[in-house]
Symmetry: C2
Subunit: 252 residues, 2 copies
């Protein structure tokens, strides 16, 4: 996308961002949240994460119930699906729509969010374009995410899901423990196995079992049993890709 | 989204669209495709569907293979996931990214697609904004789609998936067959059970079985065994929602 690059913190003009945060503070359009606090967000408004990270989730309001009049839907409260993160400097909006509703939660302590009307952006036309380009980028990422959720095997969805998240948000990480000598990229926020399960159509128990499998093969590493990492060069990872290429030729 | 409405064909200034299609024809930026033909699309370019419909799909290039050196990934060629439609008047772009790649196919005969560079839109600033707003809208729809794919039961994912598709693209339809007297909304394009399975992480066989179940309960109707419809007022549908509300109060 040469003609319309995706904005990142590094190429965003610092002055515009500074002016916007100043404006938001002056106009009481700025609020901080503690971890896992719900961020009230209304359709039609635009939100910007100034600091920390936001977790988007979706809830199903529609669920198949067997035809018997007294049957109750099962495990309703587990149907809140993890839909992704919005990091610092990034915009989000929530247009609630049946049969699913979207919500935002603070994913880290001291997460600060600004809000504005779309017409407030008339003052900063370049920034408006950045915001729209950011949504364009997020849309592309969600298409990739949908690609992995279309895979039938849960372990494929799990590995694809983690790979996409770390590709987008991962930070370089080298283990200080000389013995295992891990080098790779680390997701800077923790995710519970239950949250991962809610994203990939699986359960906490299955995710725990499959994470063990991926760890065993060196495809995934967890720092302090908490932050998920993917190695830079995993032999197994390459082996998997090689196998795939071979299979591709043989089948065609 | 009052301040920045989502563009639809009805509120798009006809003259701009006419000027753009004229420009595209003059500059050889216009091409027609027959059903299921692949539409070559490069990252960095913008595509507009002038007529017909486009089907987006994603392919996994990464798949978990058991650690044994000679194990082969299973069913590789089934891993092309259906990611949605792009209807007439709507834009799309494909930014290929590992470990998944995105492709576009014509979903209906005589589908016509225009293409342009992003900077070509400098001539039509209002239209540029419409395009970016359309991506914003598509992004919101994908979040809803991810919400349903996070559900654990395949039948929930199936019902959610069909509901979302028909909510977005459905056309009013009343059965001409007096006996069944169906009234509802119909997806104007056919989807195979295999395509549906590829979107919801399931198989053709399972989708066929579950579609039968949904049909039996009147939650779904298929016209001529081909086009999928959802009734306007399904008793079962309302019953399901009522049950959910009850459960919600009891649990809290």
């Amino acid at each position: 996308m040469q003609s319309s690059p995706i904005p990142t913190d590094s190429n965003r003009p610092f002055l515009t961002w500074q002016r916007i945060t100043d404006w938001a503070q002056e106009h009481y359009r700025c609020r901080s949240f503690s971890k896992d606090e719900r961020i009230p967000a209304r359709p039609g408004l635009l939100y910007l994460v100034q600091r920390g990270a936001v977790r988007l989730v979706g809830s199903a309001q529609l669920e198949y119930a067997k035809g018997k009049p007294n049957s109750k839907p099962r495990n309703r409260n587990l149907d809140e699906a993890f839909l992704g993160f919005v990091g610092a400097g990034q915009p989000f909006e929530l247009v609630a729509q049946s049969p699913f509703s979207l919500q935002a939660y603070s994913h880290a302590d001291d997460t600060t969010v600004l809000w504005m009307y779309w017409h407030d952006l008339d003052n900063w036309p370049h920034f408006r374009r950045e915001v729209l380009d950011a949504f364009r980028y997020q849309h592309q990422r969600k298409l990739l995410w949908l690609s992995t959720l279309g895979q039938r095997r849960t372990i494929d969805r799990l590995l694809g899901f983690l790979t996409l998240l770390i590709e987008e948000y991962g930070e370089y990480y080298a283990s200080s423990n000389g013995e295992d000598g891990f080098k790779g990229y680390r997701l800077p926020w923790s995710l519970t196995h239950s949250q991962i399960g809610s994203a990939i159509g699986s359960t906490r128990v299955t995710v725990t079992r499959l994470m063990g499998k991926l760890r065993q093969q060196g495809l995934v590493y967890t720092q302090d049993d908490n932050l998920i990492c993917i190695p830079i060069e995993s032999e197994d990872y390459n082996k998997t890709l090689d196998l795939e290429d071979d299979a591709g030729f043989e089948e065609e």
